[in-house]
């Protein structure tokens, strides 16, 4: 049983709106004259070909007034609903999806909706919504091309939202002004021994400036606000199921993460190199690419197969629709299945500023290359060892194996070493670095141990029995702060129709803040204590690793005070 899925459903739902595409309800195929007049008025600005085709379809469906009875019987329908009915029943090729739409639809939405329905709904929105271009930049561009719209829609100046995940804050929606994005890089993390990353991982990096008027240097160094957009598998269980991975049974989304989280994950967590290759984009291309990527971020669901539909293939698809030069370049015409191959192809094409990676030393200075940090930790460890009288560790692994309390005690027992820590900043930083590494490492272990504990406890199935053991207040906290979040994470990540408006974004902030209160945490602890199985190995394991983590944090704080 894979109940652990409860935990591992991605956190991205937390900031997402529950808006979903309105499905076209099958209505009688008649349009009242009033409804048609209203619709026609709304189509005045539409491309002529399109208006004409719609009118042809409408003529077949307009109900004569003497047959319709009073208008009030059915009422005047909204233009969008009328149009959707009309389009869903049309056989006019002008109003049906073509091959390009089919391709775009796969990239933007995946294959989760019937094509014709999607086309009808999207076209209806295009013809009736003034800000369609801001919500659906990919489709807006397509319709403009297909129907040769004389007047391009007003340029969209709105900020672009992304849901960015953070381990401790959960997911939050950030609104990004495209003017603050100075560059877009192709980001490549070198391979690891993991099956999921055997050929590396590829994504896009948004170089976000502190403000719209920042200098290039300020933008480059603003790493804490840079974002990474990458297609990732959504593995909703603890263990990677190889068969499912090969069969494409895991869902894929275009996730947004803070660059520094990605950097920590790869360069520190997995000791991998990270390369960042600037793409040659002008301001207009960059603005459009950003908006189109946002549309994909909010709408796309695909199936992730580690060898045939992975971060590299999906990224190529996205780049092909949002960057014409990528689609036509000789080096990138081919479909690459491996991230490293794709990266190499782009690097050796005219699409990117490959010279930035000619010297890795220079690239590291300028923010195009990020070292694997193992070398720094090993040097730090060597310096700390040399300064200690009798170090009880010989390498990073053995350092981590000494429990944090003992490590702290050994430092304070070694008078000369303690004295040096207080005066030698370089040594102190090295020592802090090692303790911070212990924090990062144990944090990963906490996630594993936590997930295993939840799997073992199977709170969802035992919910009623557990509630029966608790008083009303504790049962409520148990429901609100444990079961409800679990349920939310069980549910699939909700997809939206294009880029949402601010009003579309609903959060669980109120509930979240209630559960974050000291009292709620206390009550949840009490509830867990009341039901916990003291003999549970997972419980003990989670406790132990949590203490290791907390003691390592305490050590870092103590060392900083020296």
């Amino acid at each position: 049983m894979k109940n652990i899925a409860v935990l591992l459903i991605a956190i991205f739902t937390l900031g997402c709106a529950s808006v979903s595409r309105q499905s076209g309800k099958e209505e009688p195929l008649f349009i009242s004259a009033g409804s048609w007049r209203l619709l026609l008025a709304g189509l005045q600005g539409a491309p002529a070909e399109l208006r004409h085709a719609v009118a042809q379809e409408a003529e077949k469906l307009i109900q004569p007034a003497d047959q319709a009875g009073s208008e009030g019987a059915t009422g005047v329908q909204k233009p969008q609903a009328v149009l959707l009915q009309l389009l869903l029943n049309s056989r006019n090729q002008t109003l049906l999806p073509d091959a390009e739409f089919e391709q775009l639809h796969k990239v933007v939405n995946g294959e989760n909706l019937p094509l014709q329905h999607s086309y009808a709904a999207t076209l209806a929105d295009y013809l009736t919504q003034a800000d369609f271009g801001c919500q659906h930049p990919v489709y807006a561009g397509y319709f403009q091309r297909r129907y040769a719209a004389a007047n391009a829609a007003a340029p969209c100046t709105a900020e672009v939202p992304f849901t960015v995940a953070n381990r401790y804050d959960g997911a939050q929606t950030v609104w990004l002004d495209p003017k603050r994005v100075k560059a877009i890089h192709l980001l490549f993390a070198s391979k690891s021994s993991s099956m999921a990353s055997r050929f590396g991982h590829i994504a896009l990096r948004l170089v976000v400036c502190p403000t719209g008027k920042s200098t290039t240097a300020e933008c480059d160094a603003n790493l804490f606000e840079h974002l990474v957009l990458g297609f990732r598998a959504h593995i909703d269980e603890l263990s990677l199921d190889t068969l499912k991975a090969l069969n494409g049974e895991y869902k894929a989304y275009l996730f947004a993460n803070r660059f520094m989280d990605v950097y920590e994950e790869y360069a520190i967590g997995e000791f991998r190199e990270v390369y960042s290759l600037p793409l040659r984009l002008d301001d207009t291309q960059r603005d459009l690419m950003l908006r189109e990527l946002a549309e994909i971020h909010w709408s796309y669901t695909g199936n992730y197969s580690f060898f045939t539909r992975n971060c590299a293939t999906m990224m190529q698809d996205a780049l092909r629709i949002s960057w014409p030069q990528f689609a036509t370049s000789d080096r990138t015409k081919e479909r690459y299945l491996r991230p490293d191959s794709l990266f190499e192809a782009v690097k050796t094409s005219a699409l990117a500023e490959s010279e930035k990676l000619a010297s890795l030393d220079a690239a590291e200075r300028e923010g195009y290359f990020f070292s694997n940090t193992r070398q720094f930790y090993e040097r730090a460890l060597a310096e700390v060892r040399a300064a200690m009288k009798t170090p009880s560790f010989s390498d990073i692994d053995s350092y981590l194996q000494v429990n944090p309390l003992k490590r702290r005690q050994q430092r304070s027992d070694d008078i000369a070493f303690s004295a040096r820590l207080a005066t030698d900043k370089h040594l102190r930083e090295a020592q802090i670095m090692l303790e911070e590494y212990a924090v990062l490492r144990s944090e990963r272990m906490m996630m594993i141990a936590g997930a295993q504990y939840f799997e073992e406890q199977d709170f969802m199935s035992r919910g009623d029995a557990i509630r029966a053991q608790l008083d009303a207040e504790h049962a409520r906290v148990f429901d609100d702060c444990l079961l409800t979040p679990i349920r939310q994470q069980y549910a699939p990540i909700k997809r939206l129709s294009g880029i949402p408006h601010k009003t579309d974004i609903h959060t669980n902030a109120a509930q979240g803040s209630t559960c974050q209160s000291r009292q709620s945490k206390q009550q949840l602890q009490e509830a867990i204590t009341a039901i916990k199985d003291a003999k549970s190995g997972q419980w003990q394991r989670l406790n132990d690793i949590s203490r290791y983590w907390a003691e390592s944090i305490a050590s870092v704080n103590l060392l900083k005070q020296l």
Partner: protein, 328 residues
Amino acid sequence: MKKTALFSLFMVLIASIPAYADGIVRVQCDEEDNGTEIYIDGKFAGECPADVPVNAGTVQLRARKAARDGYERIFTKQIRVVDGVAQRVEIVLSAPQMTSETRLKKETAEADTLLAAADAGDVEAMEKLAQRYAAGSGVKKDLAKAQVWRNRAEAATAQEQLRAANFGDIKAMLGIAARYDAGQGVSKDPSQAQAWRERAETKSRENKAQEEAAKHAKVLQAKAQAKQNKIDQFSFFENTSKFVNGAGVDNNNITSILLTGVPIMTLGFATDLISAPTRTTEINKLKNEAAVRPSTWGKPDSMIARASQQLDKSGSAAQAPLLVMADK
């Protein structure tokens, strides 16, 4: 015949009695002490055994017999003599004792030794010498000299006390303060006396603080021991390697989890579980610093290092922060 002999003896005795004496003291001793000199009121009066004619009244009898070199055995007794009555005295000599000449010689030699030691700065010798001058023992009695040596002894004692005081001896500090008050061994100086009293107080406080510190150190030691016990009893750490090495967990699986995003709920749950005093913003701050430290430390000219500096400088990520960054 027998009667005749007794009579003759009686006559001899009668004949030997001075005509002016009122009484006789008949001095007898053991045979081995025969020859012991007899003195009546300090005047030699014959050798034992002897009948010594004395005037009536109280007399002081002293008997003396020379012993080994410089020693003698003596006997003294006060005797009341009555007219016409023979007073019989049995001499029992004392154990050998020093003769006065010998004692004088000895005391003189001792005084010479004391003088040499006192001249060399021996305070005890000075004090003894002062006593001898006062008593005339081994030296000629001389009260002025006695006072001179007493003064020198006090001055030397004061110097010794001063040295001890300078080395932090609180008793010596109080002693020297008293000396400055009284002008004993040092020139009278109330301000010096006060200064030494204050130093004594300060030192006393310091000593108390040190004692407290020592006690505190003991407490700390006990706490450290308790902590050590806690460590020793922390069963998990015996298996730390299992956790940090992953033991088959941290290879494919953890990477996969991170690929999907992070099960933050388990993290939040775990931190709540241990009632970690660390807040989310603090953890984020720590993690930001942890992320930049390796490159900042190992490669100070890297972009990561510059990013860290820029963040430090700006105090926040940007004027219009994209992400909530309460971290720095």
